[in-house]
């Protein structure tokens, strides 16, 4: 028993040293790096109405998702045109939502109807990552097929939100209705 405790103490000491030496933060290996990169690319293939072309470009994140940190890391040296990009956590019960892209994580996907209702007819590109979301109001849904991220694009949902989508992006995804 004493031996086990000594072993455990040694391990905890090892971890403690590692934690104490640096206790601030940054990026971490994550497969969501690819998600974040693709979300950023959407800004080049989607056209927002002119009235939404001023101020910061805001990407909202609904639910807990590693994509938030990945996006924060990614956009540190990027802009949309000349506009600064801001990543903002959003809550279903929060104040007015003002964003250009809304990423609804799997964590929050059970509330997709609420999000869609709140965003009705607003020019927001709704991006999701759960099975069947493209038919539940999402504009672009990530799915994994053959170990790769694929896009399900609902053109109707996009157009209803007064957004334009480039044919190049349409051709890279599967268009669903």
């Amino acid at each position: 028993m004493i031996l086990i405790l000594r072993k455990l103490t040694s391990a905890l000491a090892l971890i403690a040293i590692l934690l104490l030496c640096n206790n601030s933060a940054s990026a971490q290996e994550s497969d969501y790096t690819v998600h974040a990169n693709i979300i950023y690319r959407f800004t080049k293939y989607v056209k927002w109405p002119d009235e939404n072309k001023s101020g910061d470009f805001i990407i909202g994140i609904a639910g807990d998702s590693p994509v938030e940190e990945e996006l924060k890391t990614l956009i540190s040296n990027k802009t949309v045109g000349n506009r600064k990009i801001v990543i903002r956590k959003v809550f279903a019960s929060g104040a007015t939502l003002n964003c250009h892209i809304l990423f609804v994580s799997e964590d929050a996907s059970s509330n997709i109807k609420k999000w869609i209702a709140r965003m009705a007819n607003i020019p927001v590109l709704i991006v999701t990552e759960s099975e069947g979301m493209a038919r539940k109001g999402s504009c672009i849904n990530f799915v994994i097929i053959n170990d790769r991220l694929k896009l399900e694009i609902n053109k109707t949902n996009i157009e209803q939100r007064k957004l334009g989508i480039a044919t190049e992006l349409l051709s890279l995804g599967k268009v669903v209705k």
Partner: protein
């Protein structure tokens, strides 16, 4: 009393960590930079594969496992796939000679104790390349040097700890190591070249050339490795000493063996191997993928696996080829693979055999809302034949037979998400029908994960997995000694296979917890309890006599049998991963207690010598299995002070072990056949400089502490070594 290297490890880790000045450097988004250069189309082609044999993210994985990427491996300076596994939690790795390793997941090795190396080596881990098994059915296990791919081919390596046969097929008894090969994402021509050389005449070169056009990608790759031993002496069992330039060996039977140069033609050589591979990927349309890979390999190594009777090392030679076709159409996945070749387990006469294995697997994935189910069938056949090379009359070959092991499996894997996806239930059930023993074994895997939120997840796993029988235990028919015991009287020992062995089976219960403690700090804890039974060994039965002309021959049959022993292992693995822009640290440790019950160090049946101890004499006993370390672990710390420099310090450490070889029973003097392996910490440092994008120059120091102690039973000393090299990626 177990002696630890942990304090040393802590000290080194602390120095490494605290000594580093954190410069706000151009390290930012080094991973993202790779993606920045890709088009959206290429990004959608980035492969995302993780454990549980389905694409998913590691945090959510229901099984205990780890993934190391090609970047992790490159930065750490690992010189081979085998060495790279030292970066993975839960893997015990001992170097036998330069570049040749004994690799176990969580240990349970040297079982049964006091047995030949073939039995005690790892036969319970399924090693795969892109889901193609590379398992050797001769006696079970993996001949690592025969793996045709090298680090230039590797995208990532997934390691699953614990029984996983329900997901991966038979022989995933204690875990799976799946090597995922690289796919180049950029359109056009792409080239990778790595070369390094250094101590002990180590020369490593490998490279890949790929061309991607629209929906077709072709990669040709090749690799070459030469490594010398760190010493030229050999340990001899009988004289119990290392012999420099021996002119002869004395065998177990006190025969003098003088043809040493035939058996060890190059006493310096640890490893020489080369291989070539071709990978073709074709995506004719969305949701349809056709992949082909094929290749050839040659290897000659001096390692400890095949029993010679006088010294642990043997020269092993392999020439083999493989082909693998995978087709994925929507939910349908089919895979057909072949491997075959000729191998020599040592250079003694009659130790050569041909083999060919075929694996076929078809599965279909149905998904509906929160429920998915994947039924499938698979077929495996392994044919080994040494009749062309052996003296089948006097039965002096390896197994003197043409044997086949077949496994037909039907499986179903299902997954159901409930409570808004927070609770996830994963179940796998496989029925395996073997030809020998002629019976059906069930393996299962049930896992549940509960995700409190995106930062905390717990998992619970119950699983059971069998190992298939092997050619040797099933078919061997070998006369391994004929000794005159008087006028016209001879004693003969015969090895006899057994087609009715119960299959070695492992079962496990495990609880795990993963946490994202902050955006840059991940913690993974797993607590496991594993039981293993139906271990096999060769056991002498009753001696009988018969007349052959004027001679009387006494035959001692030595038969493959199940031993009554059982193994129990309880342990905990902790791993942490931490990153701060230009610094990344991944420490990991495992503490485990392994005990063996009902074991007796006697390889005889009760009928062999009535009244004397036998394999059942240990019933009711329980001792700690000292050959599996109680502690092992390590860390990798990477520091990128500027965009052009990369410094990586990594360590691997284990506690003391005691290996008992079959010669412990043969000589029974309490000295010979026992090796006390000292605790050891192996500290490595790689410093790399990138003068222009894609070109890396590096120095690679191995075992900086110059702890020369051997890592395996009477193996070579493993001192400090230094390599320098260049890698280029176009």
């Amino acid at each position: 009393m177990v002696k630890f290297s942990v304090p040393k490890l802590i000290f080194l880790c602390a120095v490494a960590m605290c000594g580093m000045q954190i410069a706000e450097a151009q390290y930012i988004q080094n991973e993202s930079k790779i993606y920045d250069s890709l088009s959206l189309k290429d990004l959608l082609n980035v492969k995302i594969v993780s454990i549980s044999k389905a694409p998913e993210f590691l945090f959510d994985a229901p099984l205990s496992g780890s993934v190391i990427t090609k970047e992790d491996i490159r930065r750490a300076g690992s010189t081979s796939i085998m060495e790279a596994l030292r970066l993975v939690p839960g893997v015990i790795i001992r170097e036998q000679s330069n570049g040749n390793y004994d690799i176990h997941i969580r240990g349970m090795d040297n079982v049964p104790p006091d047995a030949p190396f073939e039995i005690t080596s790892n036969t319970t881990t399924l090693v795969m390349i892109d889901n193609r098994p590379t398992y050797s059915y001769l006696r079970g296990g993996t001949f690592w040097e025969t793996i045709p791919v090298d680090l230039n081919d590797v995208e990532k390596i997934e390691v699953v700890r614990g029984p996983a046969a329900a997901l991966y097929g038979p022989n995933a008894v204690n875990g799976v190591i799946n090597i995922i090969t690289r796919q180049f994402k950029k359109a056009g021509l792409h080239a990778v070249l790595n070369s390094q050389a250094g101590s002990n005449q180590t020369q490593i070169a490998n490279g890949s050339l790929s061309y991607t056009l629209d929906r077709v990608s072709v990669i040709a790759s090749g690799n070459y490795t030469h490594r010398n031993r760190s010493q030229t002496s050999y340990f001899e069992y009988v004289r119990n000493e290392w012999l420099e330039n021996p002119q002869y060996f004395v065998s177990f039977d006190y025969d003098t063996v003088r043809n040493i140069d035939n058996l060890y033609p190059d006493r310096n050589l640890a490893m020489e191997k080369y291989a070539g591979n071709l990978f073709v990927t074709y995506e004719p349309r969305d949701r349809m993928l056709i992949q082909f890979s094929g290749g050839l390999q040659h290897s000659t190594v001096q390692k400890i696996l095949s029993e010679t009777g006088y010294t642990p090392f043997s020269t092993n030679v392999s020439d083999s080829r493989y082909g693998d076709v995978k087709i994925a159409i929507k939910g349908l996945n089919a895979q057909l693979s072949y491997s075959g070749g000729t191998q020599l387990k040592n250079l003694q006469a009659g130790n050569k055999y041909d083999f060919q294995t075929v694996d076929a697997n078809v599965e279909y994935n149905f998904t509906k809302n929160n429920f998915s189910i994947k039924p499938g069938i698979s077929y495996r056949s392994a044919i080994y034949d040494d009749t062309k090379y052996s003296d089948t009359v006097n039965k002096t070959g390896v197994f003197n037979s043409r044997g086949e092991i077949t496994t037909k499996s039907a499986f179903v894997r299902g997954e159901y998400k409930m409570l808004d996806g927070k609770l996830r239930l994963v179940a796998g059930l496989t029925a395996n029908k073997f030809n020998y023993p002629d019976t059906t074994y069930l393996s299962y895997q049930f896992a549940a994960t509960y995700k409190f939120n995106a930062k905390h997840i717990i998992r619970f796993v119950v699983s059971k997995a069998p190992r298939s029988s092997n050619i040797y235990d099933t078919y061997v028919d070998q006369t391994f000694s004929v000794v005159p015991v008087g006028p016209n009287r001879y004693a003969r020992r015969e090895l006899i296979g057994n087609k009715n062995l119960k299959l070695l089976t492992s079962s496990m219960i495990e609880i795990g917890y993963r946490a994202r403690l902050s955006s840059d700090l991940n913690l993974d804890i797993e607590v496991f309890r594993t039981k293993m039974k139906n271990v096999t060994a060769f056991v002498q039965d009753r001696i009988y006599a018969y007349a052959s002309g004027p001679d009387s021959i006494y035959v001692a049959p030595v038969i493959a049998m199940n031993l009554p022993l059982e193994l129990y292992q309880t342990g905990i693995t902790l791993s942490v991963s931490y990153a701060k822009k230009n610094i990344q640290i991944k420490p990991f440790v495992t503490f485990q207690h392994t005990k063996i019950q009902d074991y007796a160090p006697y390889a005889t049946t009760p009928d062999a010598y009535p009244g004397l101890p036998n394999i059942y004499s240990g019933i009711g006993t329980e001792t700690r299995l000292k050959s599996t370390p109680a502690f092992y672990g390590g860390f990798s710390a990477n520091y990128m002070p500027t965009a052009k420099w990369n410094i990586n310090l990594n360590a691997y450490s284990y506690s003391t072990q005691v290996y008992t070889h079959v010669t412990n029973i043969v000589f029974n003097d309490g000295i010979r056949g026992i090796d006390h392996i000292k605790s050891k910490t192996i500290l490595n440092l790689r410093v790399a400089y990138e003068p222009v994008k894609g070109l890396n120059l590096f120095l690679n120091g191995k075992n900086l502490l110059n702890d020369k102690t051997r890592e395996f039973f009477k193996a070579d000393d493993m001192p400090f070594s230094l390599l320098g090299g260049i890698s280029y990626e176009l």
